[in-house]
Subunit: 335 residues, 2 copies
């Protein structure tokens, strides 16, 4: 099991990426191939211990955050994210993890590995910390405009991922809209609802913004524009609220006393808002395993994303997704 990690991608790369890869250690049975500038990576690795599980694959280029994904991926043949997916294609590694330009990761994944059968548009599945457990929001940014059958396929892919990779049993699937009644929402949502209702999925109907955080519904389907706004809003809000709570408490003697007394419950509280628990968001629908991480990923997030990638491979999520896509029926999937 080898996971290729884009060493040059992300705001804290390559330091945080190299550290995250090092923290995986040997006990996990995961080999890591760091893809990027071997001189820089080598010097960073020399300051870590127990890095026998890490190999380095040199490349000279990188896709920057502001670049147009498709153009950059096409032009820069030696960019770390392209080389990483090439390694999957050649059979040298099993999965790719990147905290770089997420559009470029998506584009490189599709260009290099292609889509799996039955999928019109691959999507990015965000894993959010719901109050009752993880909530999968799909899509969180790959497709700004979606046809009803794309949304339907997101549901099938989300279900396959949730059951085979996260161990969920018959997860409830909701369609994000602005009212619970079927008549609400826009045209694409109303049509997608009909497709989902006819499917063998455990579809519970429309859900609203307030349902994203509760965890009552485990998989929430939406287009990539709404999903991206929702993911970033909830991430930003969790961060801001943790920061505010700490700041308010630190400002007075009694507040600091409360921090001491409440250490354990506050820890549990903060863990419920942990957006790094899974480290990254899987790219569902490409013919391989790719995990997109937040640009600002810490070493811990990178480590958790590598573990998620390994679990994705070990649990044969791709095979199970193919089966579920076939089972959910041709007419419904392809309009």
């Amino acid at each position: 099991m080898i996971v290729a990690v884009d060493a040059m991608g992300g705001d804290n790369a390559p330091e945080a990426v190299v550290q995250g890869a090092a923290e995986i250690g040997r006990e996990q049975g995961i080999g890591v191939t760091l893809v990027g500038d071997e001189r820089i990576i080598g010097s960073l690795l020399s300051s870590h211990r127990g890095t026998n599980h890490i190999a380095v694959h040199h490349c000279s280029d990188v896709v920057r955050m502001g670049e147009s994904p498709l153009k950059a991926v096409r032009r820069k043949k030696d960019a770390s994210i392209r080389v990483a997916f090439d390694l999957i294609k050649r059979g040298d590694v099993d999965a790719v993890v990147s905290a770089g330009n997420s559009g470029a990761t998506l584009a490189a994944g599709i260009l290099t590995l292609g889509r799996i059968e039955g999928v019109d548009r691959p999507a990015i599945a965000g894993i959010l910390p719901g109050q009752k457990g993880p909530v999968i929001l799909i899509d969180v940014g790959a497709n700004v405009d979606c046809r009803p059958n794309y949304l339907f396929q997101f549901g099938v892919m989300g279900n396959a991922f949730a059951t085979s990779c996260l161990g969920m049993v018959n997860p409830k699937i909701g369609l994000l809209s602005i009212g619970e009644e079927g008549s609400k929402g826009n045209e694409q949502v109303r049509l997608a609802r009909k497709l989902l209702e006819k499917s063998p999925l455990n579809f519970v109907g429309n859900v609203e913004g307030r349902d994203i955080f509760t965890g009552e519904v485990e998989i929430i389907v939406c287009d990539g524009f709404v999903g991206n706004v929702a993911l970033k809003l909830s991430e930003g809000m969790a961060r801001a609220m943790m920061h505010t709570l700490k700041t308010e408490l630190m400002e007075s003697f009694y507040g600091r006393a409360a921090l001491v007394f409440g250490r354990q419950p506050l820890k549990r509280y903060w863990r419920k808002m942990d957006y790094e628990a899974y480290g990254g968001a899987p790219l569902l629908g490409i013919n391989g395993v790719g995990i997109v991480c937040h640009g600002g990923s810490s070493a811990r997030a990178i480590k958790n994303a590598i573990k998620l990638a390994a679990r994705y491979v070990r649990n044969k999520v791709l095979d199970k997704m193919l089966v579920q896509l076939k089972r959910s029926g041709g007419e419904a999937v392809h309009e």
Copy 2:
């Protein structure tokens, strides 16, 4: 100054509505006309003191939550929300507040009072508690599909409301998208950006989901689908996080001690997430004053919404909006 309040609208109506109206008291200089079943309202009023500022206007019907707004408003001529807007039209009251079916409130407002000049689609402006102060999110549910010029007009209306009703000075306006670059987002966002850039507004460009909660940008423009999801997500998350924090702290002796010591800072923390500070969301673009409240509004939310309606009237927000719409230019507004 008289505010008509739909006594029959909302999950906690009429009890919470009557209580909220009673709490306004006389010192505010606001008269309240409760619109609804006079027998029920009368018996509830008898248990409150100091209600000389309250009048009752009887009507026999109500639009329920699940009803189709437009159909219900057209058919039910004696429904409380229709009668309330009729009172504005006849000049008997100055504004309407309702926690009932928000689609019906919007429909009744447009049907009864019409739109103001220069506005193609009225919108609902949510007022969120940002980290640095209130953030206006417009639209939060009136228009699921928006043309670029609607989004542009939302910006102008939001600016007029923010400056003349909330006292903001030259507020920053952002366009909600999924990346900061102008090339990101969907077609309507890219075109709306061009209109906003040419306008005299203090437009700062695209903003992302994470910017909704910070308060760095005071006005955020988006379509009603995305805005509704964002509003409900942030409301739900704030509620859930407050609940979780309290529950975790109450569960142990040390946690309860932390609650005692941290009482003041925790109060300040909770105040920062207060979604009832303004009580409701103004309907911008109708030719009159209407405030839409959350279905689950408490008496305090109703009270604050009545105060917001009164401030809207006193500050002549409507007149200022008309001037700003004219100033922002004909061609840009009407495609």
